[in-house]
Structure formats: C-alpha cells, structure tokens
C-alpha cells in the first residue's frame, strides 16, 4: 500500500462561512468549519473520516469536489503524474477533473431528483459530459444498475418507487457512470438499516477491487469506518486531531479525543465486560473556538500549555504512519477501544 502514488493532497484547507446579522446582513463573524486541514490519499486506498456532528467532515468532502469554495488552501489532484491545485482550475479543466472525482451523499432521499426516471438519473453525467450516443448511454445505465444489484427492468421507475437501500445503490451507480478514480462517500450508509448497510458496504469494497477506486469515506459511526478504511482521520472542531492506520488507531490511539471516541462506542457484546467511558462537556461554538488546543475544554489531560499554544499535527515516534495533534501525544498512556492502557 505505502508505495502507491498519492492521488489527492489537501494542504492547509480552510473554509470559513460568514455569519451575517441584521438588516444590512453585515458579517459579524465566521464559522470556521474547516480550519487548516492537511492530508493525502493514496491511489486505491480508503481514507476514513470521523468526528462529531458539525466538525467539518462534509465541508472537507464538498471542498474536494468544489461544491463549496474554500477560503484558503490547496487541493492537489494527481493528473498524469502532476499534482495540480484544482482550486485554480477554470471551468473547462474542472469539468474534466470532475469526471474523475465523484461524490455520494448521505441522504438517498433528497439527492435524487424525484421527477426523473432513474435511467435519466444515471445517464445524466454522461449527458452533461456528452459521452456516447443515447443508445450507448442507456446501455451503460443498464450495466450499472445490474452492477449495483438492481434489475435494469426498473429503469423507467422514479426514485420514490425504491427503498432507501435501493436509492443508495442508485446514487452509487450514478457516481460510477463516468469511471471515476476518487469517490467522496459522505455518510453513504448512515441512513440504512444494518442488513442493508452491510450489503452496501460489501458492494463498495467489491467495486473498489474491481475498478481500483479510491475512497474518502465520511461517517460518524466508528465501527463502520474502522471496517472499511485503510487509514482513519479524526476531526474535531474543524481540525484534524489524528491520522493513523485503522488497525493502529483503536489499539493505540494517539490523541485524547480519539481515546474518548473509542470509549464512547457501545461495546455491543454483553460478555465483553467493557465499560463505556463517556467524555464530559459539549463541543464549543465553532465561531469562537478555544485558544490553544481546541480540545482543551473537554480534555482530561489539559494543562496551561494546552490552553495557550496550539499543538501541531506531528508524526509519532516509533511509527511511520500515525500523526496526532497533541502536546503530550508521546507521553500519554491512552486507552484502547477495549479499555486497557497501551503500554504493556
């Protein structure tokens, strides 16, 4: 895995949404939805992205497909061995790149146009990019429907005639129409029942193997993310607090917030004897984040240093893949998912 090419490199990405008030809609402040985020994704890997509601996951995903305009930073995408900042692209060039970068949304209900028969929904990207004849497009729609486990016989139906799981499959089929390389999956299974969720997760894994896809997989359910990801990125209040391989992160978390997330997961096994370890407090207001480390208001290990100086995301000693943004990342003996401290 680690020798694979880097497909996407995000550098110091910032997305600040203005807060407007009053008759003149004057800007009175900014929601720092994403505030200096840097990471990369290798070709063919799945990078998971987790964090609490409002921490900026969707905004990161939407910045990559340019559905929101970042305030600052770069999104570099590997095109023919060149890392181009696609935020600089003008329309025609962006249109080309958008063939390769697709997005799947959380809500299979609102992301499909209810007035369009599903053949048109799936072929729409082909129409926009003027690929193939009408007959070829219909043929492609047929193939894709069968590939995601739906009968092509239903091509003339409308979205409301499908169940939530089937609609999510339609969303996936549409994202695949143009043979993309990278798919931003924004909570693709969060609205689904477990049995259907498992079907869709398996399908995403199969499609990845078959077409060599790369995923940025956003979810708030850590067990889902841990299942599907090669590496996991944890966000808190617009910033990355940790990035590490999936197999590392639940055994030896590198950041107190990751520890807290792991401690919050219900064990789901009455015999495990594992005790939940809830985190106190609530997420601070993103328009007025704490000074220093933005987790300091809830962190059980916070010191004066944490309340004054912001920690950098840095590589942990003894690892070539685990990064954490905590002043004490090297000294804390954080608990694993199972509840044991890691040094043993």
């Amino acid at each position: 895995m680690s020798q694979n090419n880097i497909l996407l490199q995000v550098e110091d990405l910032k997305v600040h949404f203005p807060i407007r008030k009053g008759f003149l809609r004057r800007t009175v402040g900014y929601v720092k939805a994403v505030d200096g985020v840097s990471f990369f994704i290798r070709e063919g890997e799945t990078l998971g992205l987790v964090g609490e509601s409002g921490c900026g996951k969707t905004t990161v995903g939407r910045s990559i497909v340019r559905l929101v305009d970042p305030t600052a930073g770069q999104v570099k995408y590997n095109r023919n061995e060149h890392m181009d900042n696609i935020l600089d692209y003008e329309r025609p060039a962006m249109k080309e790149v958008r063939k390769e970068i697709q997005i799947i949304f959380q809500d299979p209900y609102s992301s499909l146009d209810p007035r369009m028969p599903i053949r048109d929904i799936i072929t729409q990207p082909l129409d926009i990019h003027q690929v193939g004849t009408r007959k070829e497009r219909t043929q492609r729609a047929k193939e894709l429907m069968e590939r995601v486990g739906l009968s092509a016989y239903h091509m003339n139906r409308y979205p409301h005639q499908f169940s939530g799981g089937q609609r999510q499959r339609l969303g996936i089929a549409r994202a695949l129409t143009l043979n993309p390389k990278l798919i931003v999956c924004d909570e693709p299974v969060s609205a689904l029942d477990v049995s259907v969720q498992a079907q869709v997760l398996n399908m995403l894994e199969d499609l990845q193997d078959e077409f060599g896809l790369t995923y940025l997989f956003v979810a708030h359910d850590l067990s889902v993310v841990e299942h599907i990801s090669d590496r996991i990125m944890v966000m808190y209040l617009g910033k990355i607090v940790e990035i590490a391989p999936a197999a590392t992160i639940y055994l030896t978390p590198g950041h107190p917030y990751t520890e807290a997330l792991l401690g919050s997961i219900p064990s789901g096994d009455p015999r495990s004897g594992r005790k939940r370890r809830p985190l106190g407090g609530t997420v601070p207001d993103p328009s007025n984040p704490p000074v220093g480390c933005n987790f300091n208001t809830r962190c059980p290990y916070a010191t004066d240093l944490c309340r004054s100086e912001e920690p950098e995301l840095k590589l942990l000693p003894g690892s070539d893949e685990q990064y954490a943004a905590c002043h004490y990342a090297e000294n804390l003996n954080l608990r694993s998912f199972y509840g044991e401290p890691q040094s043993s």
Partner: protein, 335 residues
C-alpha cells in the same frame, strides 16, 4: 429472587386502516416487563417498534391506527389495568401517562415546545400530575435538570429549547419524563439522533437514573450495540411480529432465529476484520406480506413449510423463544 410483574403485553395487534389497505404494524406481539428491568426492543425500520410503544401509551393516530386485539396489562400494586381497554383521552389513561409511564422520543423537539422555557415545560408536567404549587414545581424542575446532569440548572431552567445543544435537549426531555417518578420509561431510540459521545453520556445517565429511581425501561433501538449494553432481556421484531425473545446474553451468543443471526453478522465490529455477511434482500412491503414465515424470502434456511405456514413461537431454551420452523421439534412455547 422473584421479579415483580409490571407490564404484560399479550397478542397485541395494532393495525392501520389506510386507503391502500390494512397495515398490520403490530401483529400478535407478546412480552413482559418486570419492575426495575430493561427490556430491549430491536429490529429494522418499519418492523413496528414505535407503534408497539405508542400502543402502550395510547398515543396512536386514532382512528386510522388502533389496537384491534390483545391486552396490555399494567400492574399497579394489586390492581391490574388493561390499557388496551382504556380510551386514549380517558382520565384513567391520562393518569397512567405521565404518572406511571412516560416516554422519550428520538427527536427531543417532538416533546418540547419551542416557545416555552425548559423549566415551564417540566413544571407543567409536575403541576398536572403531582399537585405542587408553582414555587415547589420550579424547585422540582431545577432538581430534575441537575439530576440529568445539566450544569447551572437554576439558570438553564429559564432557557428555551433552541438555546440547548441536542444532547442537552434530550437530557431535558428525560428530566421531563422522570419528573413524576414513573415506574416505566419507554425510550424510543433516545440516542439515535445524537453523536456517539453524547449517546454514551445519555446511556450512562439512564443507567444511573435507573439505579437511583428503580424504574423499568422499555428501550427501543435498531442498534444491537446499544441493546447489548442496556437490556436485560430482548425482543427482536420483524414485520410486526416478535421473532425471538430471550435474555440479552442468549440473543448475542445463542441466537436461534435466522434473522437475529443475520443481524448479528451484518454488523461491523471494531477489531473484527472479516467480510460482513449481510441478510440478503429487504423487508417485505407491509401491504404485500409473503405467505408463511415473513422472513422466508430472505432466509438462508427456508424450507417448503416456511413458505406455506407461519411458524409459532417455539421454546428453544430456558425463557428463550424463536418463531422459526427449524426449532419446531422443541414444542410450542407460551411467550
């Protein structure tokens, strides 16, 4: 230790009479809840969990939805009341609702009025049910807010719902539900809309309140992980019917029904890097239910009889029942 019976639901049928036909949302459901215990109710979307709860609370959208058969016996000391025989708006039902049984919903705003302060809403509950004067009622509201872990309760009591975070709102709703010291709290997906960290706080809180106050909880969720932590016993529902009923440990380690087994294998678990084994297909349309066992079209073990005749609840172990022909030889149970 002999457990005292609190709620006995037998052969409950709640149907919806819609323009397209009859939806048998709850169709012959039976279970028991003892004093102080937690009964988990689990199953996928549309299986009838919420309608079961709303039947117990008599909060159905009458006349479209109504209890057409069965009994809901509530044990009030020596007294036994059949809720199914009470009128939703009757005095008897109103007294049960709020005094003896209260409910917490998935979305806290369903229970909160956006234009009134949190304190006023809790006060209304205690004034109606406990005959307290305004001053005492307000003290009680502050006390309850502090009980559910809301900091600075004396100040929060005068705040409006929109001033609270999602987790705090759900705490406030729980405070409202517990203000009258009920014997049974029905929690319908109380943490589903919350982040995992907030969920953990709320679950912890519910466990603590149960230890302190001794109420029984009917805990509805689609999340087996949460069930594993919260429930003493579990009812697994599928298409309006109970398909398995046992102690939590047995559900997790000795599941007998193919649907329960399928749910367990569908679930990703931390540290277990195996391919998921999903239940294939989807739940049937409630207006066009299959013949025989409703699970047969998705069941990997389905036999001819499954596609013809509905199985009974067979006893498969001590206080353990499964509605599946694979276990017919064990003889019919009584659950």
């Amino acid at each position: 230790m002999k457990k005292e019976m609190l709620l006995e639901v037998s052969n409950l049928k709640t149907h919806f009479f819609t323009d397209d036909g009859v939806v048998k949302a709850v169709d012959g459901v039976s279970f028991e809840i003892h004093k102080g215990e937690t009964l988990g109710v689990v199953g996928e979307s549309g299986c009838g969990k919420s309608i079961t709860a709303q039947s117990v609370m008599q909060l159905l959208p009458y006349p479209k939805g109504r209890v057409v058969e069965g009994s809901i016996l509530y044990h009030q000391g020596e007294n036994v009341i059949d809720i199914a025989a009470l009128k939703p708006a009757s005095r008897g039902m109103r007294r049960l609702r709020g005094n003896e049984i209260s409910m917490v919903f998935q979305e806290p705003m369903t229970s909160l009025n956006p234009v009134h302060t949190i304190g006023r809403q809790i006060m209304e509950v205690v004034i109606e049910h406990q005959n307290l004067d305004k001053k005492r009622a307000k003290e009680r509201a502050v006390e309850m807010l502090s009980h559910v872990g809301i900091s600075a309760p004396a100040q929060r009591v005068d705040e409006y719902p929109h001033q609270l975070s999602g987790g705090m709102r759900q705490r406030a709703v729980i405070a409202m539900g517990l203000a009258c010291d009920p014997n049974l709290l029905i929690a319908d997906e109380p943490t589903t809309a919350l982040d995992v960290t907030v969920e953990a706080q709320i679950l912890e809180l519910m466990n603590k309140l149960q230890d302190d106050l001794g109420m029984a909880i009917m805990f509805i969720t689609h999340d087996l992980g949460v069930i594993g932590e919260m429930a003493d016993r579990v009812v697994v529902m599928y298409s309006g019917k109970v398909v398995e009923y046992a102690e939590t440990d047995k559900i997790f380690y000795e599941a007998h029904h193919p649907y329960t087994q399928g749910l367990l294998k569908s679930r990703p678990a931390i540290g277990r890097h195996q391919r998921l084994v999903p239940v294939t297909g989807t739940v049937p349309n409630p207006l066009y239910l299959p013949k025989g066992c409703y699970f047969a079209p998705r069941c990997p073990h389905a036999m001819d009889i499954c596609r013809e005749t509905e199985p009974a609840m067979f006893a498969v172990g001590e206080k353990h029942w499964a509605k599946c022909w694979l276990h017919a030889e064990k003889g019919e149970g009584t659950a």
